[in-house]
């Protein structure tokens, strides 16, 4: 399986990874090699096998819907790249 530069560019876009053309070319080769290894899955007979999403086959545990104290906003915003008056700042989204 060989991925083209355009396919890698598309995957990088889906993953929101900003990569330059040299990086795209390198990743194309590496990802192709990885997908070659993964391709051996095709050979496995999985007729009537249920997909396994959880190693213990347990259903997600439910909890009571009640408010619990959490670390306060100041603590979380102290580590943010940019905040003002309790909100996170990002580049202007709407012109």
């Amino acid at each position: 399986m060989s991925l083209t530069a355009d396919q890698v560019r598309n995957v990088a876009r889906l993953a929101r990874l900003g990569l330059d053309d040299d990086q795209i070319a390198e990743y194309a080769g590496e990802l192709s090699n990885i997908l070659d290894v993964v391709a051996s899955l095709e050979k496995a007979d999985t007729t009537d096998v249920e997909p396994m999403a959880h190693p213990l086959d347990l259903a997600a545990r439910l909890r009571a819907d009640r408010a619990v104290p959490v670390t306060d906003r100041d603590d979380f915003q102290a580590i943010a790249p940019a905040t003002a008056e309790g909100v996170y700042l990002v580049p202007k989204v709407i012109e």
Partner: protein, 487 residues
């Protein structure tokens, strides 16, 4: 010397007033100062808080706790309030955790003193500790060699006697493999045994916290404090934690007598290095000499483990790591022109190559048109692999096998060849996919480099693993060996 004492002895000595938490803390911090410039095991230090904490413990702050005064280190994947928690990544180089992981909280409540946070492969993705933003860890047995990964810092720190015990996490072998390569004892509990709350997620259906120490008895003490239900982790299992330490105390010399130990033939086939095989054979002979019944078993879907894992783990990683967007915490690129630029450049610059590779593999296998062929298919082969173990454990009590195909490799040897690095994990991935508990126990050396014996037990039978490893360590001394220069 103080750093060769068991955890049991150290804790008893502190309790009896024969030594103090401050003395222990100083002893290990001095060793870190002397050796860690070479090894690079600790990346987020907390020496000052450790000294303060030790003084507080000596003043009675942790009275009646099981591990009062015990120095430990945490893998830098566990959030620790007020301390940088980097996960080995530039992305979190400036991240000071606003809360404690449950593992950190429980070990602190048990009386431990945290000396530092250990180096690791970036976001736990790697088998050599070379993908860390902070540079590789070096193997104390030979500093030209890798310590294994991803919990390489924890394993190397324990091996070098820089700390008596350290936490780690295992997604596809990240506790067992570095434990093997560094010659220390490591345990990865059953998925769900230890809370994942505050442990930075890589692949949520696989990640499990555990620990490294010098012996099974030491590991039992640490695991005892870590394990147990936590309502803040929805996958943590509500099930009583046995008395691991008490069970070892009560264990007789005949513990292995009559135990059925299975050797999976797929783990002894082509690929296993001859010299490593001899070490494993000798370890198994010791089990047999102690009365264990050795039987050959088959885990026929073993060959699917690498491909299954390298679909599922990257898929989960691409989803988990979507949260690192440069908005609320972590790395943000300079002068983003718009929101898209903020996301793509922060992630392009903040993540290293191996992490980007895995995110892209994950995004690819989950993308439209490929989901059934890769992700769904891998979930099915995962069941086949898990079913192999269910079948095997109908006939045996324990599985014994190598951890790796060969001892540690040289720094740089596999770094440019991701596929060769991935294939290295072939003996540890199956148990991870099945969610089983596993250990690596020091079993000997090849050319001066340690070899680990892997033990696997049925789900939630950590006590049996610890018991078998402890029994083995009563008549062997591989676990007591110390690398030259670190005595």
């Amino acid at each position: 010397m103080s750093h060769d004492r068991s955890i049991r002895d150290m804790v008893a000595a502190v309790a009896a007033g024969k030594t103090s938490a401050a003395e222990l803390t100083t002893h290990y911090l001095d060793r870190i100062a002397a050796h860690d410039e070479t090894l690079n095991t600790l990346i987020s230090g907390c020496a000052d808080t450790a000294r303060e904490r030790a003084v507080a413990i000596d003043a009675g702050a942790a009275a009646d706790t099981p591990l009062a005064g015990l120095p430990i280190a945490h893998k830098d994947i566990f959030c620790m309030r007020g301390t940088r928690t980097s996960c080995g990544s530039r992305m979190l180089d400036n991240f000071v955790a606003p809360y404690d992981a449950t593992v950190v909280e429980r070990l602190a409540a048990a009386g431990t003193v945290t000396l530092g946070k250990t180096n690791m492969d970036e976001f736990a993705m790697g088998s050599s500790n070379e993908t860390s933003f902070y540079g590789p860890v070096r193997n104390p047995w030979n500093t030209d060699y890798v310590p294994g990964g991803s919990s390489g810092g924890s394993a190397a720190a324990v091996a070098a006697g820089l700390v008596p015990a350290a936490t780690g996490t295992d997604t596809g072998g990240s506790i067992r493999q570095p434990a093997a390569l560094c010659g220390v004892t490591g345990i990865k509990p059953t998925y769900g045994r230890v809370s994942r709350y505050g442990m930075i997620a890589f692949a949520s259906s696989l990640d499990q916290g555990g620990c490294f120490a010098r012996s099974a008895d030491d590991c039992a003490h640490v695991l005892q404090a870590m394990a147990g239900f936590d309502e803040r982790d929805s996958t943590c299992v509500e099930r009583e934690v046995p008395d691991y330490v008490g069970a070892l105390d009560a264990q007789g010399d005949d513990y292995l007598k009559g135990m059925r130990v299975g050797l999976p033939k797929e783990y002894f086939a082509e690929g296993l290095d001859d010299a490593s095989r001899q070490v494993i054979d000798a370890a198994i002979a010791e089990f047999e000499a102690r009365g264990a019944e050795i039987v050959e078993i088959t885990l026929p879907h073993t060959e699917l483990a690498v491909s299954t894992y390298y679909v599922l783990a990257p898929a989960e990683a691409s989803s988990n790591l979507a949260r690192f967007d440069g908005v609320r915490y972590g790395y943000r690129c300079e002068n983003p022109v718009d929101l898209e630029d903020l996301y793509t450049r922060s992630r392009g610059e903040g993540f290293g190559r191996e992490v980007q590779r895995r995110i892209m593999v994950g995004a690819y296998v989950l993308s439209a048109g490929y989901y059934d062929a890769y992700y769904l298919k891998a979930q099915k082969t995962r069941r086949l692999i898990a079913q192999d173990f269910t079948n095997a454990f109908e006939n045996v009590d324990l599985i014994a096998a190598p951890v790796t195909q060969a001892p540690a490799f040289k720094l740089g040897e596999k770094l440019d060849d991701p596929v060769s690095m991935y294939l290295n994990d072939v003996y540890t991935l199956p148990a991870s996919l099945a969610g089983l508990p596993g250990m690596s126990v020091p079993a000997g050396f090849v050319d001066g480099l340690p070899v680990g014996l892997q033990l696997l037990a049925p789900w939630f039978e950590e006590a049996r693993l610890l018991g078998a490893a402890h029994a083995y360590q009563q008549t062997t001394d591989w676990h007591t060996k110390r690398p030259a220069g670190f005595e």
